[in-house]
Amino acid sequence: MSVCLKLTEATIKFGGLVAVNKVSFELKQGDLFGLIGPNGAGKTTCFNIITGVYKPTSGEIEFNGKLIGGTPSNKIANLGIARTFQNIRLFKSLTVIENVVVGGFLRHKTGLFGAMAYLPAQIRETEKLRAEAMELLKIVDLADMASARSADLSYGMQRRLEIARALATQPKLLLLDEPAAGMNPQEKEELNVMVRRIRDQFQLTVLLIEHDMRFVMSLCERILVLDAGTEIASGPPDAIRNDPKVIAAYLGQPA
């Protein structure tokens, strides 16, 4: 299987703080990869350098054989990386389906002047995007909420909507930032099934950050543990579970 995403000694510094320090890992096509670590370990920052929110200070990020370090966010999305956010960032006053249509917009071909004149080509394209969005909403089980305001959704629904919106960009790599946060055990179970289904249906590679160990361990095939910006362990769930360094990072150093 080909390499999808590869980080080589990726580093980012904010002033004197090294948020991510020489982190390297590799995702194969179709992987379900987990990124864990205590608070402030640099997980979300990792996402931010992959998706172009920040430019890495040094190191390389390679996506499908292309160096993408420092490319602007919107270009990254065009290359096929989509993400969700830890602190849900939906377009709050837009409806659920509109949120998803925005995600599909990057595949939109017709121009601004066409939109201003409301030409048939534009209408057709908008209709097509809405139909696609509706399909995605069915997958995340939000189809009956399509015309609700996204801010009115429950927490778990908002997280699922973020996934649908990300899928609308038709990504090859999906980054999920704490997708299960704030969900009850049943919702988590459903999410677990849903992520796998999405991965198989759209042939995605998934990289996810999560705090819930049970969720990560049951979902991910490989896991990387970060602490204070540095990699302390990586491997299959079972190996991570018993790694003394990981236990120390979570429970504190034995005196």
């Binding site: 904010f14 979300t44 931010n48 929110v53 956010f85």
Partner: protein, 384 residues
């Protein structure tokens, strides 16, 4: 247009600092409110305007009415005017906060900004309905007992040039008398002279011009700085007020609460700080300082006309000063105020009088684009 006349530069710098101290006083109000509420108090310039009116009415109350002005003055009058202005402005600030800003606190920031613009327009145009503004009055100069200047000579006047000017003076008097005598004789007006009178007129004019040129040269050869005593008092008062403010903010309980609220509003309220009274306090102090600035501006910068738009430009400039220094940062506001005062006088000195009001906006745009945190502020990054 004088061009870049270096000899007048020191005087201009002094004027700039004096003007800047007023801007600094107003800027403190902007910066304190922004620090705590993250709100640009658009109506602050109008509080300043009301302060100038308060000082005007106080001076009228003391007997310096435009028609029947008392002569002579004493420092107590100035103090009464200052207190009147500070009290009224402080109260106005608190009222504005209570009735216009507090109900908006849970709304998006833009909504409070719009309310602030509304309050500002209301005070400007509503004030027009009952405050005297056409013609714009000014505070009687006689209220200020400190009219004279302290002169600091930097370079003595060139003696030979003075002597030369003195000599020309005799000639000027002589030609002038001759011309006056001629007018007396023929009963002609100086504007409708017959041909016979023209040489007299020309001689008088030439002598006058020569004299003024020579005097100008003599004056320019020396270098001195004039410090109007009134404005010095203004500067000293400003420094005293700032020292008081510093004490208040750094060493008293409300000051500590204010700093805590400006650091983290929500955390401060969770720690049991009464944010409402802290905000009231902030508005009280900030507005009172603007009132002090307004009173001194209207009293010591002689001939300042007061109308309901009086606060608009100083308000904008002081806001820019606060941004320049780093909004939310108290020493920054003082630094920014002085820099704005200097920038303005330097623009005038360089001969671009008509751009003196534009310079504020130009500085603002440059600062916000290149160092949005201001000189002493910090740049915050949005967390993703």
């Amino acid at each position: 247009m004088a061009g870049l006349e270096l000899s007048t530069l020191p005087q201009q710098l002094v004027n700039g600092i004096l003007l800047g101290s007023i801007y600094a006083l107003i800027a403190l109000g902007y910066t304190m409110v922004y620090g705590v509420l993250k709100l640009i108090n658009f109506a602050h310039g109008e509080v300043f305007m009301i302060g100038a009116y308060a000082a005007l009415f106080a001076s009228w109350g003391l007997g310096y009415t435009p028609n029947n002005a008392m002569s002579g003055s004493n420092p107590i009058n100035l103090l009464i005017m200052l207190l009147a202005s500070m009290t009224l402005c402080g109260l106005l600030g608190v009222l504005i906060e209570r009735f216009a800003y507090r109900p908006m606190r849970n709304q998006p920031r833009i909504a409070s900004l719009i309310t602030a613009i509304g309050v500002s327009l209301l005070l400007q145009y509503g004030g027009q309905l009952f405050l005297p503004s056409s013609p714009a009055p000014n505070i009687d100069a006689k209220v200020n007992p400190y009219q004279d200047n302290i002169t600091i000579p930097l370079r003595p006047v060139d003696g030979t040039l003075v002597a030369a000017a003195k000599q020309l003076e005799a000639k000027q008097i002589e030609t002038k008398t001759a011309f006056d005598g001629y007018l007396e004789r023929t009963k002609e007006s100086p504007f409708q002279l017959s041909a016979a009178g023209q040489p007299f007129k020309k001689a008088a004019q030439d002598a006058e011009r020569d004299l003024r040129t020579a005097e100008g040269k003599a004056e320019a050869s020396g270098l001195s700085i004039r410090l109007p005593k009134g404005q010095m008092i203004m500067l000293v008062t400003t420094v005293v007020l700032m020292a008081l403010l510093n004490f208040l903010v750094m060493h008293t309980k409300p000051g500590r609460a204010m700093r805590a609220a400006s650091h983290d509003f929500d955390a401060a309220s969770l720690m049991g700080i009464n944010v409402n009274s802290t905000i009231t306090f902030t508005f009280l102090i900030g507005s009172a300082l603007a009132g002090a600035g307004a009173m001194m501006n209207a009293t010591f910068l002689s001939g300042t006309k007061i109308d309901t738009f009086f606060g608009m430009l100083p308000g904008v400039k002081a806001f820019v000063a606060a941004v320049l220094g780093g909004i939310g940062n108290i020493p920054g506001a003082v630094l920014g105020g002085i820099l704005m005062g200097l920038a303005e006088t330097l623009v005038v000195w360089a001969g671009y009088d008509s751009y003196r009001d534009a310079i504020a906006f130009i500085v603002l745009i440059i600062v916000l684009l290149f160092k949005p945190g201001g000189l002493l502020g910090s740049n915050k990054v949005e967390k993703v």
